[in-house]
Amino acid sequence: MSTGVTFTLNGFRRGFLASVPLGMGAATFGALFGFLADQHGLSGLEALLMSGLVFAGASQLVALELWSTESSVLLISLAAAFVNLRFMMMAAAMRPWLAPLGPARAYGSLLLLVDMNFAMSLADMHKGGKDAAYFLGSGVLLWLVWVASTGFGHAFGHLLRDPNALGLDFLVPACFLAMAVPLYQHKRSLLPWAVAAGASCLAWLLLPGASYLIVGALAGALTGALRDERR
């Protein structure tokens, strides 16, 4: 294919180095995750494994929220897929760089797809960047920072005593609220979000375990999709 897309060590290095400032943001979040993982009873190795193998902050926090309830492996995995569905859109948007690479490099690079290296790569692509290894380099830096900061947060988490009196048990729901706010578009989101809130509360009262999460998310997203489709 004569798309001009390359995959070089130089591109990898450029992506790696350009992501250092973003990496500092990732480190804060990673340390927070490590700390909260400790609060929720995960061992250091479990927290590191989760950060290394899942590498997706929001879904890792969701897992912590579900960890203490009687949630099944299936529910926790399904919740991770739901929270991370945005990666599907991002992977689709990376097509101009990934399609010419061949399956091994394309699906290999996608192992490390997160919001930050997607944003960086999309910006580089729009500036005319043609080196797809930029995406992988950025992903590798963010992954290293994410795993290291998780270990740091977990190691120092236990130094705090009585975290509930400090309101620290509220940090996980607070994270979801803070991440939800930028997604809110008044005309489009109000109805599906209200349905999600109502359905989740009903399920919380009537159904066992953490099924309120799935019921609320599906009810909200289906409402939004059915309404949008008719417009």
Binding site: T28, L32, S43, L45, E46, L49, M50, L53, V54, F55, A56, S59, Q60, V62, A63, E65, W67, V73, L74, I76, S77, A80, A81, F82, N84, F87, A91, L98, A106, Y107, L110, L113, A165, G167, F170, L171, P173, A174, C175, F176, L177, A178, A180, V181, L183, Y184, P192, A197, W204, L213, V215, G216, A217, G220, A221, G224, A225, L226, D228, E229
Partner: protein
């Protein structure tokens, strides 16, 4: 440093599920025609998920978590950095738990 076998299963399940999501976006865009319904569903799912996850426990937590949630939403609306929003929420919850007995 130990790993519970059920925890390991959950971590592997999450990792696999997340990778399937990552890979399928690229896989499908090369093969499937896009539908309006699917686009809209995927658009709404993350927000609906966050709302569904947060609403019951926040309502159940009483006035401290109600006020904490309000503080977080205000900070995030003003585009405060994530850490600032979180600390404002936690501080509000902590303060109200000191002032109100029973929460």
């Amino acid at each position: 440093m130990s790993v519970d076998s059920l925890a390991l299963m959950a971590i592997l399940g999450m990792g696999l599920a997340t990778y399937v999501v990552r890979a399928s976006g690229f896989f499908l865009v090369q093969r499937l025609p896009r539908s309006r319904f699917l686009d809209a569903f995927l658009h709404h799912l993350p927000g609906a998920m966050f709302v569904a996850l947060v609403t019951p426990p926040v309502l159940n937590g009483g006035p401290p978590t109600w006020a904490g949630a309000l503080a977080v939403v205000c900070c995030a609306t003003l585009r405060a950095p994530l850490l600032v929003s979180l600390l404002a929420g936690a501080a509000t919850v902590a303060l109200l738990r000191q002032l109100l007995v029973g929460y």
